[in-house]
């Protein structure tokens, strides 16, 4: 018997074993992003017929003043990321604790806020 959670845990542990705690967080954060966020927030144009929904909307909102793809943003804070993930916003539905745990949300927030120089 095998669970996705166990697979994910194994991967997270393997990052930790290389001795870089923050790198482990970023690694897990990137994994969480890829599983839960990338489908709507990867860079334009995306691999499919229509654009990634989130990036498309943010591109229209920012008109080039900020990158529309979240991984390219330099102004995100961990607190903001966590608030939006849990509450949802506009077309983005809220994400439950059974989907992205508080621990994984910390890792995701650290990953997306990682480019913020503040």
């Amino acid at each position: 018997m095998r669970t996705v959670a166990r697979v994910a845990l194994t991967l997270a542990v393997s990052f930790a074993l290389v001795g870089a705690g923050r790198a482990a967080d970023l690694g897990r954060g990137k994994q969480v992003f890829q599983i839960w966020c990338a489908g709507c927030h990867e860079p334009l144009p995306g691999p499919s017929y229509a654009p990634p929904a989130g990036t498309y909307v943010l591109n229209k909102r920012y008109h080039g003043t900020k990158p529309a793809a979240l991984e390219q943003r330099t102004d995100l804070t961990a607190a903001y990321v966590k608030a939006i993930v849990r509450a949802g916003r506009n077309m983005m539905p809220p994400t439950r604790k059974t989907e992205v745990s508080d621990t994984d949300l910390d890792a995701l927030a650290a990953y997306l806020a990682g480019n913020n120089p503040r």
Binding site: V4, I35, A50, V57, M91, P93, P94, R96
Partner: protein, 526 residues
Amino acid sequence: MIIPEGTTEANFRTALQEFAGAVGAEWVFTSEADISTYRDAYSPFIGQPQKMNVPGAAVAPVTVEQVQQVVRIANKYTVPLWAFSTGRNLGYGGSSPTMRGTVMVDLKRMNKVIEVNETKAYMIVEPGISFIEMYRHLQSIGSNLRLSAPQPGWGSPIGNAVDRGHGDASYNGDNYSMVKGLEVVTPTAELVRTGCGSVPDSKLWPLYEYGFGPFISGMFTQSNFGIVTKACFWLTPNWETEQTFTIESDRSDDLQRYIDVLLPLRNEGIIHGWGATSPIRESGAHNDGRHPYGPKTVYQLLHQSDGGSMRQWDDLGRSARIPASRGTARMRGAAPVVKAQLDYALTRVRGLPGTLQVQPARSGAWIGPLIDFGIIAIQETSHGHFYFSPMYDASAKDLYAINDTVRRVMIAHDDYDMLDNFCWSGTRGTTADKYMLILLEFLVHDDVELNNRRLALFRALVKTCGENGWPEYRTPSYMQDVVMNQYSFNNHSLLHFLETVKDAVDPNGILAPGKGGIWPRRLRRS
């Protein structure tokens, strides 16, 4: 805290304490912030909180035994439960219940892959695993098997199948058709396996779905007769090549000729998917992701009392160089076989009027959407959508008739914005078989009055289409009664039978009251 109808506050609070004892306090959610994550994120009742079917609490078991415990406690205190796998059927109400105050049974933590059998091409899984998680799992074990996934992949194979949803059509987009066995916790907390799953230690559970005696798996789809805790799915091997061709003409009358050739090819297994549409009629639609590409005359014809004659549409198509009829076909499989299928199919198609185009073969299996999620974003909604999704006979006569009926209802409601957004819809080539399906997004807006007008339009469309024999295949949680009312043969004898079953298997009426339009005796209105 919202207390559900028919439950006392004292009983509700006691049940929550006992739920915590069963699954652990951290997996019982009662705060407003946590409960909010279980609401319908795309509810058309935005701004009308009293109309939203907000849950009373949520509980998240991780084992079958915990699910049984939760059900026993619910029976003890008459607390209604609404189970869901991942709750990402966003256009159909998400995880939200049909009755306010219902306790959500969140099965996301039950995400085990019990077995993947490469040779026999099946998997046995729990409800919490998502399409994308299962896709990654199959990749991690080097499997050559694939699922039929709707975008954006965070939904559940079990959840989608038991809601009778569609995927990207590996060979057959109907996900429930790939389910070959279920494990179910009944409303009285018994554990049942369907078909050969009821034979102790039998390997036949995922292989022969019927077993012996009545075949009951379908009773656990779109119903409130049990909580599915495992399912056996047949999977599809990745294909080597995908091949498509289209045939188009400038005559609306040719559409039935195309169907007359493509449908038999599908019946014979020569092609694996097909579609039929009228591009000139669709060319003004805002809701297909390509933005309107046709002439503005499209709207003039749609607004005419007769919706435009065949001749008018054909003339418009010729002047705009957009076809009046288009048939599409798709084949998937090993390259030499697909080539042979194409060659044979073309011998049947070449006699048809119009222009034949054979697209370049596409190597490798790919993950394609049934509805591209990004299309919804393009439509300028801040709050998502819900689907109007009637089925109709796979014929040009029905295709033209249902589109004209939808048009007339929209005009009767003076909703020309909706009509211009929709225009006309053929099939998208992924779900058509012997029936076809319209998938029309009703966008949700900030304007409460507009949302209410759209809800009235939705109900009118459901009523009128039902009277014409075009029922919904699926609907949001708040429209269950409206849609069940379409299935009214012999004085609603189907619903009467289902209510009889409900009262027998769920004597306390605790599981998903109102789902499928089926209410337990204690909550049933006349």
